[in-house]
């Protein structure tokens, strides 16, 4: 079974959200695998988190289906978990999904494409996590479970990201429909193994027959977990850093305010805000772990919300007062966008920096010194839009 959610019958000719998720941890023909070793494994080994990652993505979609812009209509999943992952997450076995071999992957991608073609306003979602390499500057290749199988060309059980992307382009016949919003997440390394340069031409087999380029008016960003020539990292037996960052973003850290049809603010994650959010989290995570993992994005066009939030996301506020000599006398009052006082921080402000949470939105911070401190001026109210994930709010008290 690959189709782990099927609500297509309920769409009633309306648009739907069609997801295809693939996670490959077990590679029998790579080092440490159970099968015949590949002729050239490029030094790649077994992985410990892709299947878990794919499962987390699947869970998120199921749990947030009411937040998607169109109804969640189908979720296809292919998993090749490692034994250790199955121990961590029993549902990997319980779901009984097909393994991510070429034999299973190709027909599923084609069926996913058929679903995508049911309505122009469909949204498609493609998430692949596992081994990948950069075949050239413009071509990324993903390895399926049976990559490196004996007696076959090396790339037989690999797929080209660009081929899938191009194959999902709107058909030349304007009468035929195709999802015009497509989201691609490629959670894999993008190294170019030196052995590749010794081969005259390596080419993964096609999945689709692709017509020469016609009008391609998709909104179809591809989010890559790594830039060419670099690695994508993971928390062993948990999930990849990319998926962690993605889910943090979708859960609110990349949320931006948008107007709904009633002229009211509704928070959601858009393509652009997701790009910004992922970039920021990547930057923080790289610093935290001492790695250099960078996001790469292509195919960005006009922006759109890809998931809504039920309420404004929480924001961590790090309040810092300068100079510290004002701390014993400083009283802070925070007003919301309606001018209502929602929080008071009494003097002395401690600990410093003072950290607290606010729901995302616009706030006014009023600071008073009681009694007035000689040599320091009164502080005028400060306004700012507080956006997730955190805001470093510095309050500078000028000398009088």
């Amino acid at each position: 079974m690959t189709l782990v959610l099927d609500e297509r019958a309920n769409l009633k000719d309306g648009p739907g959200f069609h997801a295809l998720i693939a996670g490959v941890s077990a590679y029998p023909h790579l080092s440490g695998g159970s099968g015949t070793p590949a002729v050239d494994s490029f030094g790649l080994r077994q992985l410990t988190s892709p299947a878990l990652t794919a499962h987390k993505i699947y869970r998120w979609l199921i749990e947030h289906k009411s937040n998607l812009p169109v109804p969640l209509a189908s979720v296809r999943m292919l998993l090749s978990p490692s034994e250790s992952e199955k121990e961590v997450e029993p549902e990997l076995d319980a779901l009984q999904v097909d393994r991510c071999t070429r034999g299973n992957f190709v027909p599923e991608v084609r069926r996913w494409r058929e679903d995508a073609m049911s309505h122009d306003e469909n949204i498609t979602f493609f998430y692949h996590v596992g081994h990948g390499i950069q075949l050239s500057r413009s071509e990324s290749v993903l390895f399926l479970e049976d990559f490196g199988a004996p007696d076959a060309p090396l790339m037989l059980n690999a797929v080209s990201v660009q081929h899938i992307y191009n194959g999902m382009a709107p058909p030349g016949d304007p009468q035929k429909e195709m999802a015009r919003t497509q989201l691609y997440f490629i959670d894999a390394s993008s190294l170019l193994p030196p052995a590749i340069s010794q081969m005259s031409r390596l080419s993964p087999p096609d999945i689709f027959d692709i017509a020469l380029g016609g009008l391609d008016d998709r909104r179809a960003p591809i989010f890559y977990a790594s830039v060419p020539g670099s690695l994508a990292y993971a928390h062993s037996k948990k999930q990849t850093l990319f998926s962690e960052a993605l889910l943090r973003c979708l859960n609110g850290e990349a949320a931006v305010p948008s107007d709904n049809i009633h002229g009211e603010v509704q928070w959601g994650v858009s393509i652009t805000s997701l790009m910004n959010g992922l970039t920021k989290i990547f930057s923080d995570v790289s610093e935290e772990y001492g790695i250099d993992q960078r996001l790469s994005v292509s195919g960005v066009g006009s922006d759109t919300i890809i998931c809504y939030l039920d309420s404004p996301p929480p924001v961590k506020i790090i309040l810092e007062i300068d100079p510290p000599s004002a701390l014993p006398f400083m009283k802070i009052e925070i007003l919301d966008d309606a001018g209502v006082s929602i929080r008071t921080i009494s003097a002395p402000i401690t600990p410093h920096p003072y950290i607290f949470d606010l729901a995302a939105g616009i706030y006014i911070m009023k600071a008073t010194m009681d009694p007035p401190v000689p040599g320091l001026k009164e502080v005028s109210p400060k306004t700012r839009l507080v956006m997730p994930p955190s805001v470093h709010w510095k309050l500078k008290v000028d000398a009088s």
């Binding site: 500057r137 008016d217 960005v300 510095k394």
Partner: protein
């Protein structure tokens, strides 16, 4: 004969331009010379082109007679050429006296006498030959008879300090020329610990000098040299120093001199220096020989020569190569092609595969507007260089007069010119990883297959080679700008704006091979940590449109964005900025706004490498934003008072002529509070009597005030 250009008798007493030019290639007493080798030859040898360089300088001066800042009055020339050095100089006469010490002293004395007849005189001294760095502050110029064994080692040399000092007002009198130019092109012996102690050796004085206290001259010395121990490797070729000097004097260092509405073109001390400095820096790198170059003396920015036409600058229209490398900057390459001679309506033979494409009406104008914008607006980094290639239509030239002037200065957007400009642009980009590059192309574009984008240059379809020979593939262009082990200093922020169609003509289905020209060889992918954002004006398979005779839709939208339409408020600093990410949010809005009411629909697309944001500019002021406050239901409008206050609680003025349902404001972006109230007797209530909002472009912010009856 030394005086080869004598003053016109009728001009006696009037100011004039007096030159003394000396070139020494033949040093009989140095290595390879015809006479007894000097005891202190210091490894110095014959020079292959110094006399010829001096002769060319002389010819230049005479040929530019009409364009000098003072009428040419006298030229003195001393040459010591090697036997066959002057063979190709048909105007050279062997009667020109040789550059021995005695001849030099005589010529210098006469030159000074001429120079000191009028304060408006101008002088030029040029020396090409050997020099010795006598001390840290003094160089001596070697005459032909250096090392003849008579007297001290430096007897047949002249100290540049002595010569320069002797031309000061204190020494030469109050009538001395106030504008003096000195050019030294030398193969220089540099001091080192093991070399002779020259401090105790004396050069011959050209003039008796008293100490100079107040020197009222403008007297720059352009001193360029290469080390004599590298002369072998450089073939003793002074041309390496003299040729660029003449090229720049001939116009390559031209700059506009504005006087009211009039623009005159000239080469000045500063404009020449701006070119020579990076040139020698670059030359040092290329030849792995340390060329020394210095502008010293009293370097005031005086005019050296006027130009009859604006200089042909190739593609580099702003900035200086090399010198820009000292700090990170923005390097731009802008290309605009409207005139396609081989497409429909063109002036030359129609391309076999013209694909139905015609002449364009606004691509060059667009490129020009982008260039003007870059020149006018402060960006997040200093603008370091702008290269511009233009192939305008006649209509565009008629519409935009300034374009005509610019077109005279820059090359046309042919393949060869593009490749050269791209190469130079890449070389500049690789000077600092913090550089930002900007590429803008406006013209025809096509796509062969999905994901492809080919940009057509002016000479597309010229019938030579394959159909796409005179076109470039954007994947190749962008791929070649990646950093690699050999160019690790490549700009890590790169902006590409491809303002062209991406239609897929059916002809591509008929051919198995149709290859574009490679801009460069692209190395295999390595770690590519650029933020290279490619904004394409059209979707794959779609068209990009233009406002005929004005500019493209995409460029208008882009400039609207850069002007502030894509402005975002940085809450930390309070600054407004435009970045690659804020462009994403605004470009389509302005494209739609520009095409509103037209039949054309256009959508942009962005691709690229790396997702991190590049700040393109900070805005001087908050961008304007429209705020619309409708009252709902509209019947409640007469009873509802709406007030908007800025962050300082100052009330904002609504636009006059309100209709009967909403208030409208045009405000600078920022935080505002909207307050609404009903008349005191009104029993209805307001859902949000007070709300703070953030106004950011591009679209008008609609904030409804809702009145409920409940």
């Amino acid at each position: 004969m030394t005086l080869i250009y004598a003053p016109d008798e009728s001009r006696k007493g009037q100011s004039g331009f007096h030159a003394l030019i000396v070139g020494v290639s033949d040093y009989p007493h140095l290595l390879g010379g015809s006479a007894k080798l000097a005891r202190q030859h210091m490894g110095m040898q014959q020079l292959s082109s110094a006399a010829r360089a001096a002769f060319k300088m002389c010819r230049w001066l005479v040929s530019r007679e009409k364009y000098l800042p003072a009428p040419l009055a006298s030229v003195r020339l001393l040459l010591s050429p090697l036997d066959k050095e002057m063979e190709k100089e048909s105007e050279y006469s062997a009667e020109v006296e040789r550059a021995t010490l005695n001849n030099f002293l005589k010529a210098a004395t006469e030159w000074r006498e001429d120079a000191s007849t009028h304060p408006d005189n101008m002088t030029l001294f040029y020396f090409a030959g050997h020099s010795i760095e006598k001390s840290a502050t003094e160089s001596v110029l070697l005459m032909e008879d250096y090392g003849d064994g008579i007297g001290g080692t430096l007897r047949n040399t002249v100290s540049l300090n002595n010569l320069f000092g002797g031309m000061a007002l204190d020494n030469a009198g109050a009538q001395m020329a106030r504008r003096q130019l000195y050019f030294i092109n030398a193969c220089q012996f540099f001091r080192a610990g093991t070399m002779p102690r020259f401090e105790s050796m004396n050069a011959t004085d050209a003039f008796d000098n008293c100490p100079v206290f107040a020197d009222g001259r403008d007297a720059p010395i352009f001193y360029a040299a290469f080390p004599s121990d590298k002369a072998d490797a450089l073939d003793g070729d002074i041309k390496l120093l003299s040729k660029p000097l003449l090229d720049y004097l001939n116009g390559a260092a031209g700059e506009p001199l504005k006087k009211g509405q009039d623009v005159k073109w000239r080469v000045s001390v500063n404009s020449l220096h701006k070119e020579l400095e990076p040139y020698f820096e670059e030359l040092s790198g290329k030849l792995e020989v340390k060329f020394s170059y210095e502008l010293k003396g009293i370097p005031k920015d005086i005019t050296i020569s006027f130009l009859d036409t604006p200089p042909k600058l190739k593609s580099l229209i702003f900035g200086a190569r090399g010198s820009a490398a000292k700090k990170p900057g923005i390097h731009a390459l802008i290309v605009g092609v409207s005139d396609y001679p081989h497409l429909l309506g063109g002036s030359a033979r129609l391309a076999t595969q013209h694909m139905g494409m015609k002449q364009l009406s606004s691509a060059a104008l667009t490129a020009f507007k982008v260039y003007r914008w870059l020149m006018d607006k402060p960006l997040s980094l200093p603008l370091a260089s702008v290269r511009l290639l233009l192939s305008p239509s006649q209509k565009e030239l008629d519409i935009e007069k300034e374009l005509e002037g610019i077109v005279k200065q820059v090359d046309r957007a042919t393949l060869n010119n593009f490749l050269t400009a791209a190469r130079e642009w890449q070389e500049d980009a690789v000077t600092d990883p913090n550089n930002i590059t900007l590429f803008y192309f406006a013209g025809h574009g096509v796509q062969r297959t999905s994901g492809d984008h080919v940009l057509l240059l002016e000479d597309f379809g010229d019938g030579i080679g394959g159909t796409l020979r005179n076109s470039v593939n954007t994947q190749n262009l962008v791929g070649g700008m990646a950093a690699s082990a050999t160019n690790n200093n490549m700009a890590r922020a790169q902006l590409y704006f491809l303002d062209a169609c991406r239609v897929a003509p059916t002809v591509f289905k008929e051919f198995e091979w149709m290859n574009t020209a490679d801009v460069w060889d692209v190395k295999r992918a390595t770690f590519d940590n650029r933020a290279a954002v490619i904004f394409r004006a059209s979707l794959p398979g779609d068209k990009a449109y233009a406002l005929v005779g004005k500019q493209t839709v995409f460029s208008k939208a882009l400039l609207d964005c850069l002007e502030g339409g894509a402005g975002k408020l940085d809450n930390e600093s309070g600054k407004w900025y435009v970045s690659t990410n804020s462009l994403h949010g605004a470009l389509q809005y302005y494209i739609n706004e520009t095409t509103e009411g037209q039949e054309a629909e256009q959508e942009y697309k962005a691709d690229g490498v790396g997702g991190h944001q590049v700040v393109i500019r900070y805005l001087e002021n908050a961008p304007p934003v429209e705020l619309i406050v409708p009252v709902e239901p509209p019947e409640a409008f007469p009873d509802t008072v709406v007030e908007v206050f800025d962050e300082q609680n100052t009330p904002c003025q609504a636009q006059s002529g309100q209709n009967e349902s909403h208030y409208s404001y045009h405000l600078p972006g920022g935080y505002y509070t909207v307050k609404a109230k009903l008349t005191e007797t009104d029993q209805r209530r307001l859902e949000r009597p007070q709300k703070m909002i953030l106004l950011e472009p591009p679209k008008a912010i609609k904030f409804p005030v809702k009145v409920s009856t409940g």
